[in-house]
């Protein structure tokens, strides 16, 4: 029986493409599933950070910057191992951003390689050197260029909220039809809060994040996988590791009739007709499109033990020095605005995160923002200075830190937000609330309110009531008790800036 089926089924070279696409689809689906279901959907925090832990750039940069090992970082060695065997197979088979770029691959460029100078491939190596040197100097500000952080940030802050708004608008319209009410209501119950947020999600700078992502997609129009060829710092790291790849593409001169099919289909354009259709293993994503396209089975992937050769666009001494210089200068320059951070009165960080420590550990992945159930965490645009770009900040007008939640610290893959147990997190001071008596309607207008006091979640409320001003009572913050969760600021009915605001704690003196 087994023999017969073996005869019935014969592996053909063109199946490689199908196999690769299938693996890509499954991996992307897994990535999205973990994105949706971790913490909120009941999966443990470790599940959601699986991809980030497999990302050698995020883990290496994190290790260099924090100079401390965090549990789970070693998983990235799996990816390095894969790369030592098969080169940039991560890029071609696994990377969620790579798969997304393949989905948006414009068909009509497929048979023509763009005329972009090969030297442009060096940009990604420059970025990698810049990122790793900056990391060594304690700054991870360029980690927003990591493909996984791009995916998570874009999904969290742009795709997911926009999708929520679209679904909500459709639901609302259909719910208006009495006959459809029951069925819309039942479907809504499946969607929310398991997949979509119960309350509308607010984002800070979601448009900017979407524009950045659309820019990367749009570059695909210049060349397939433009990002992976020229810009991706993770691609650079894997590519340079891939120079050691044991299994790499080789053209069999006896079989090759120089038809050029492989060079035309190569999505990274690394097959060079002018060099007997040879390719650079540091650029090859092992997609195997060339194998599927070749009419004469002219390619094989034999084992090599000698590293592949260096190319003109690979990092040279001069480029490395320039990148290191830029990193040193950049890091120094970024630190010059540190005094400004003293002047940022509302710079609130997730529970337990310490400012300078956060800047050195946070890989800007946005996992904390994704799991925050009350929408208080947002990627900073200007709140935390240039170096803090896209690091998590609390915006208390958009949400509040739920007293009974410690999800952000559990999910942070690099412990930039420490994994505090709930009891410790409930005592963690994020800031302190102050009442602006000139804006507070109780103090200034003698209007009944006390919403801030009512909603203060502490067992012994940090807001007390002063009945001497008027019989309805006016709020007073007890700063020895306040933890700065921001519930009062979020709920304050005063329009615009709240009459009770949380100020940054004075914990980081510069």
């Amino acid at each position: 029986m087994a023999d017969k089926s073996r005869r019935l089924f014969q592996w053909k070279d063109r199946y490689w493409r199908v196999a690769r696409s299938a693996v890509q689809a499954v991996t992307l689906a897994l990535f999205l599933f973990l994105f949706l279901r971790t913490v909120r959907g009941g999966l443990p925090a470790q599940a959601g950070t699986l991809f980030l832990h497999l990302d050698p750039l995020a883990m290496l940069a994190g290790l260099l910057a924090a100079k401390a090992y965090v549990k789970g970082m070693a998983l990235a060695l799996l990816t390095i191992g894969l790369t030592v065997l098969f080169g940039r197979a991560w890029c071609g088979w696994i990377c969620p951003l790579g798969t997304t770029l393949d989905i948006f691959h414009p068909r009509r460029w497929k048979n023509k390689q763009p005329s972009i100078p090969e030297a442009a491939r060096g940009i990604k190596h420059f970025l990698l050197t810049l990122i790793l040197t900056s990391a060594l100097l304690g700054s991870l500000w360029l980690m927003f260029l990591d493909p996984l952080t791009i995916m998570i940030r874009t999904l969290t802050e742009a795709v997911y909220p926009a999708l929520d708004r679209i679904v909500a608008a459709i639901e609302e319209a259909l719910y208006g039809i009495p006959a459809l009410r029951a069925s819309v209501s039942a479907r809504d119950r499946i969607l929310r809060p398991a997949l979509l947020p119960a309350d509308p999600a607010f984002t800070a700078g979601g448009v900017l994040i979407a524009a950045f992502f659309i820019g990367i997609i749009a570059l695909n129009a210049l060349a397939p996988r433009f990002w992976c060829r020229y810009l991706c710092p993770l691609g650079s790291l894997l590519g340079l590791t891939g120079k050691l790849a044991i299994f790499r593409r080789e053209v069999n001169p006896a079989a090759c009739n120089d038809c050029g099919a492989c060079a035309r289909v190569c999505p990274t354009g690394t097959i060079r007709p002018d060099k007997a259709n040879a390719s650079d293993p540091a650029e090859c994503t092992l997609c195997l499109d060339c194998v599927s396209a070749c009419p004469r089975a002219g390619q094989s992937f034999p084992a090599h033990l000698r590293p592949a050769g260096w190319n003109s666009y690979d990092p040279g001494r001069r480029q490395a020095l320039a990148a290191i210089g830029a990193a040193v200068g950049g890091a120094a320059l970024l630190r010059t605005d540190q005094y400004l951070r003293r002047a940022l009165p509302h710079l609130l960080r997730p529970p337990g995160a310490v400012e300078n420590d956060l800047l050195a550990k946070c890989i800007r992945c946005g996992e904390c923002i994704r799991v925050c159930p009350t929408g208080v965490l947002h990627p900073s645009v200007a709140e935390a200075g240039v170096e803090g770009f896209w690091t998590p900040v609390l915006i208390a007008r958009a949400g509040f830190c739920q007293y009974s939640c410690n999800a952000c610290g559990q999910v942070c893959p690099v412990e930039a937000i420490p994994p505090l147990p709930l009891e410790a997190k409930q005592q963690q001071v994020l800031g302190a609330a102050f009442v602006d008596r000139n804006r507070c309607i109780a103090w200034s207008d003698h209007q009944e309110c006390l919403v801030c006091e009512e909603m203060c979640p502490l067992p012994e409320k940090a807001i007390t009531v002063d009945y001497s001003e008027f019989p309805g009572g006016a709020p007073v913050v007890d700063r020895t008790r306040c933890i700065g969760c921001g519930t009062c600021e979020y709920k304050c009915p005063v329009a615009g800036e709240a009459a009770i605001r949380v100020y940054a704690p004075g914990r980081d003196s510069v």
């Binding site: 609302e172 009495p178 309110c449 203060c456 979640p457």
Partner: protein, 318 residues
């Protein structure tokens, strides 16, 4: 199968058309405030119990059953096939029932059971917590579990279900936005618990109805008058006060077991004002009129606070 650009446009147009059509249809549908189906609370006959108080024992369900039985049974309030919504107080996430920040889960479960036994077609439990997500709050309070065990459903708030309503008899509150499914229920059972509250002094039943209003922070100016307006507009068919535990300080969110008193008491009555008036006595109050919304409610005539003139049945359980 190939999905061409033409297909995409065709489906998009169809979707857009359906959405616009739906909006037009919904504009033609009768306004929510016109389709009132809620049953008014049945007034007790002469000589029968006006308000029942069950005390003692360690079984909240028994307290609920005995108190409701003293009023003539749940059948008086829930007709067969009725769509019942129960409104407990589930104000915040992260508080187990022992902290008396949220209604006792077994009290809620017992009310669900009684409504189902009376023949209700559908029994849902609704609240819109302010401290954290609704799912977290229903889970941490233990209410989600008991509602499911009793055969009811939790109605988690959904943004699309809020409706704008006018309060024609409202003196301070003329219009607001309330949860449509509560508004549309045939039978509304209010299941509050008495707690300390700085602005209102105490939050009991009439105050618990605030949970169906969407924009609550704005409600706090002239709160007591607005509560009377709201309770006049949205009259619970039955009020069952869960005083198994009460919260005496740091309310309404609590969190400190020293502020909790275990009383093992359940109060039931059709009159939301009388329920609250009686509940003030649990805090040792001599005069229920000290609670402003009770005073204003009695003055408006939406209920009674003259406890001495009411037929109150005290039941001792177990």
């Amino acid at each position: 199968m190939k999905f061409t650009r033409r297909d995409f446009l065709r489906w998009s147009m169809l979707g857009a058309g359906a959405s616009i059509g739906a909006q037009m249809l919904s504009a033609c549908a009768p306004a929510a405030s016109g389709g009132m189906t809620r049953l008014p609370p049945p007034t007790p006959g002469a000589g029968s119990t006006y308000l029942a108080v069950a005390r003692g024992g360690d079984d909240p369900e028994a307290l609920v059953r005995r108190a409701v039985a003293a009023l003539g049974g749940m059948e008086r309030f829930v007709p067969k096939g009725a769509n019942v919504v129960i409104k407990p107080n589930v104000c915040t996430a992260g508080r187990a029932y022992e902290y008396a920040a949220t209604t006792n889960p077994w009290v809620v479960g017992a009310v669900v059971k009684l409504a189902r036994e009376a023949g209700a077609a559908r029994v849902r439990v609704f609240d819109n917590p302010f401290g954290g997500t609704a799912e977290d709050a229903f889970a941490s309070s233990g209410i989600a579990e008991q509602v499911a065990a009793a055969g009811g459903e939790v109605e988690y708030p959904s943004a699309m279900k809020f409706v704008s309503v006018d309060l024609p008899a409202g003196e301070t509150l003329k219009s607001t936005v309330v949860y449509g499914d509560v508004f549309d229920a045939d039978v509304l059972i209010n299941v509050p618990l008495p707690k300390h509250h700085s602005l209102a002094q105490l939050t009991i039943g009439m105050k618990n109805m605030l949970g169906v209003v969407r924009d609550r922070p704005l409600m706090h100016a002239s709160l007591n008058q607005k509560l009377v307006d709201l309770n006049q507009f949205l009259v619970p068919t039955l009020t069952i006060v869960d005083a198994v535990r009460i919260l005496t300080a740091n309310g309404p969110t609590g969190g400190n077991l020293e502020d909790v008193r275990k009383l093992d008491t359940v109060i039931a009555t059709h009159d939301g004002v009388a329920a609250d008036a009686f509940a003030t006595t649990l805090f040792g109050w001599e005069d229920p009129q000290r609670l402003q919304y009770v005073k204003f409610g009695a003055e408006r005539g939406i209920g009674r606070s003259d406890l001495q003139n009411l037929r109150i049945e005290e039941i001792s359980v177990g």
